[in-house]
């Protein structure tokens, strides 16, 4: 049955491929017999075939695209070489990239930690000390010196101190 698709008379479904073959001169044998018997009795297929033949004449007036010429192959090879060079460079960069980013992260973390310590030492440490407490500067750093003793509170402590000093001399 011919169909109406809004584009005028069209061939019967199932015969379109045969008509296309006929148009291209590729129909022979039993197929050719079946097709010719059909369109002798089907006006829609005959119209569609005439239309298709006219389209063939119309479309074949246009010339195919021209050959791009011998320079094209050279341009392609040049583009390939450029792409390969870029790919190689990108490959080297990719190999070192994880190490570089790890290094930068380490540097950033260390800088942050040092900054934190310095700021703590400069401001925060002082603020945490109770008011009125004075920090005595250390005069000398003699690790083996005995602990400085405070002032004796009574007579027994004076005697103990004298005894300690005498013992240290001998």
């Amino acid at each position: 049955m011919p169909r109406d698709t809004g584009f005028g008379s069209v061939a019967c479904e199932g015969y379109e491929a045969l008509l296309e073959d006929y148009l291209n001169g590729e129909l022979s044998g039993a197929d050719a017999r079946v097709a010719s018997e059909h369109w002798q009795n089907c006006a829609a297929c005959r119209d569609a075939l005439q239309n298709a033949a006219a389209s063939l004449r119309l479309l074949r007036t246009a010339e195919p695209s021209a050959d791009p010429g011998p320079g094209f192959a050279h341009m392609v090879m040049a583009r390939i070489r450029t792409a390969e060079t870029e790919y190689d460079n990108a490959g080297h960069a990719n190999f070192w990239q994880p190490f570089v980013s790890l290094g930068w992260r380490f540097v950033a973390s260390a800088t942050f930690a040092v900054g934190l310590l310095v700021s703590y030492n400069a401001g925060l440490g002082h603020r945490l000390q109770p008011a009125g407490t004075q920090v005595r500067p250390i005069q000398s750093l003699d690790l083996f010196a005995p602990e400085p003793a405070g002032a004796p509170a009574n007579r027994s402590e004076v005697l103990m101190m004298v005894a300690d000093n005498s013992h240290a001399k001998f």
Binding site: T5, F7, G8, S9, V10, A11, E16, A17, L19, E20, D21, L23, N24, A48, N51, A52, A54, S55, L56, R57, L58, L59, R60, T61, A62, E63, P64, S65, A66, D67, P68, P70, F72, A73, M75, V76, M77, R79, I80, A83, E84
Partner: protein
Amino acid sequence: MAASATALTLPFQSGERKVDDRELVRLSQNGTEAAFEELVRRHQQRVFALVAGILHRPDDVEDVAQQVFLKAYLGIKRFDQRAAFSTWLYKIAVNECWDYLRKKKVRPLVYEADLSEEQVSRLDGIVSTNRPPESASVRTETREILDRMLSTLPEQDKQLLVLKEIEGFSVQELAEILDLNVNTVKVRLFRARGRIMETYRRRQNSAAKGHATSAANRKE
């Protein structure tokens, strides 16, 4: 690929014998740049035709065609030669064209303007006599008119008609390139023919109406 391999004189360079695509592909896979260059030379015209048939934008055709060969070069080591090199290459070309159209979001050019009376009579001459235009300027103009009519068709119809009738691809090739059944290609082609002729007839009628109106206006 090793550039040093190109220093060898290959059989196809000296013209001793015709080397087929399979051997050139094998040589390319082994790193012979000159073999790939020969493949480019052999297939550049068809790739150009295919890209031009799909894109319909002459300015972009060369760039996309170069990109097709670059992709083929980068993928040639994975090509197992089960299909012909040309089929494999044309599939790359079709994918590249579709990628390009998608990325650029190119809208097809649609010409709504009707044809002039002179243009219609010129086309009538071609359609009825099967005589192609003789002068280059008329051929160029005919191609423009044809492009205008083709632009009104659905994209796939347009591609099939251009690739088959203008660029010379066979039904078998189109089926392989576009991953379609051979019968489907034939049916679509036949329907597309009907559509372009319907467009042509519509424009023919519209030009005739325009002519009648202007004649009536002159009378008044």
